[in-house]
Amino acid sequence: MRAAALEALLTEKGLVSPEFIDSIVAAYVNDIGPMNGAKVVARAWVDREYRQRLLADGTAAIAELGFGGPEGEHMVVVENTPEVHNVVVCTLCSCYPWPVLGLPPNWYKSPPYRARMVREPRNVLAEMGLDLPESVRIQVWDSSAEIRYLVLPERPRGTDGMSQEELAALVTRDAMIGVARP
């Protein structure tokens, strides 16, 4: 009711058009989502030079695949290894790399995740289904300034013969936030 009231008043003033809102909604429902980030990850798994470019300048390497735009202007890609696991949070609000992951799920924006991920990441990851061995160091990234992060997960074992497309299908949104492994 209140959203409709705001839209109606702004439409009458000529400040917004319902059709333009429709097109923005459609873009984020249909075209801008984690399937984009999955293509980036799969390419990095099969192409060593791309992976190096991605880690050196995330924004430029992601743009090579055609992805960019709001909340993706300054991308840093952080790589999981057998020794280090990366996970991303925004404690102050909801910063998230829209061009590669779309809009964030509710849990990412929720007080429990934002409060606890910086304080007890190992516990929170375990609760969310990711039990990391004690030998793995956890690196949390709080995106409080202008950088937006994408986690590059480790390529799963037993995927040697797979095509880039098949690999992309293994890459989940949660793996690229760092709360799961593919």
Binding site: R2, A3, L6, L9, I21, L92, P111, Q139, S144, I147
Partner: protein, 210 residues
């Protein structure tokens, strides 16, 4: 130098319980959420809203409203607040059209910002820094849980408008930003989990040499 004490500044707070994950969650849970998102994109292009003014308007929500409302209601409240504050709409118009109360954020108590002279980078990767420990009204991007803590510069990022000044619509100085890595034990003491670190993006004027 500055820190926020707002309810939105959640890092490290206790007793929020488990993270609740909704399986197969849609991008928007109801039609109104998408409408609010679209309105926000348009207002941003028109210069009636910006990242920092919207964030600050959300931070000025009544704390119980902030914690008790769905995410896109934060955006709705912020846009309505900014449009009323800029004289584009009135609260009476909003309430008449909504046929009921339309909660807005509280007025800003942020003092005017006296910007420092633009400065080049003061720190390099590997430098030890301490985050200034100051309580200050208004918008900032220096989270409370790192205030007064020591860390190490782990990456130098570009220069960006200082949010504390940008929120006033002034010509905010561009300031170098850094990723600063804090050991879990520095942040949380004896209760810290072993083998963990948190890296936080911070503007230069939040930092001093350690």
């Amino acid at each position: 130098m500055r820190g926020v004490d707002g309810v939105h500044d959640l890092g490290g707070m206790e007793d929020f319980g488990p993270v609740v994950v909704e399986p197969a969650e849609p991008v928007f849970h109801a039609r109104w959420e998408g409408r609010v998102f679209g309105i926000g994109a348009i207002l941003t292009v028109q210069g009636l809203a910006s990242t920092n003014t919207v964030r600050h308007a959300i931070e000025r929500m009544d704390p119980s409203h902030y914690l008790g409302s769905p995410y896109f209601e934060h955006w709705l409240t912020a846009f309505a607040t900014l449009l009323v504050e800029r004289g584009v709409l009135t609260r009476e118009q909003l309430e008449a059209r909504a046929k009921g109360p339309f909660a807005l954020s509280r007025s800003s108590r942020a003092p005017r910002w006296s910007a420092d002279e633009p400065a080049g980078p003061r720190f390099a990767v590997g430098d030890r820094v301490r985050v200034a420990d100051e309580h200050r009204r208004g918008h900032t991007r220096c989270p409370r849980y790192v205030r007064g803590k020591q860390g190490v510069i782990d990456r130098c990022d570009g220069a960006f408008a200082l949010p504390d000044a940008d929120v006033h619509g002034e010509d905010a100085p561009l300031e170098p930003t850094y990723s600063v890595r804090f050991d879990a034990a520095e942040l949380w003491g004896r209760e810290a989990e072993p083998s963990a670190a948190v890296s936080v993006g911070l503007w230069q004027s939040y930092l001093a040499p350690a």
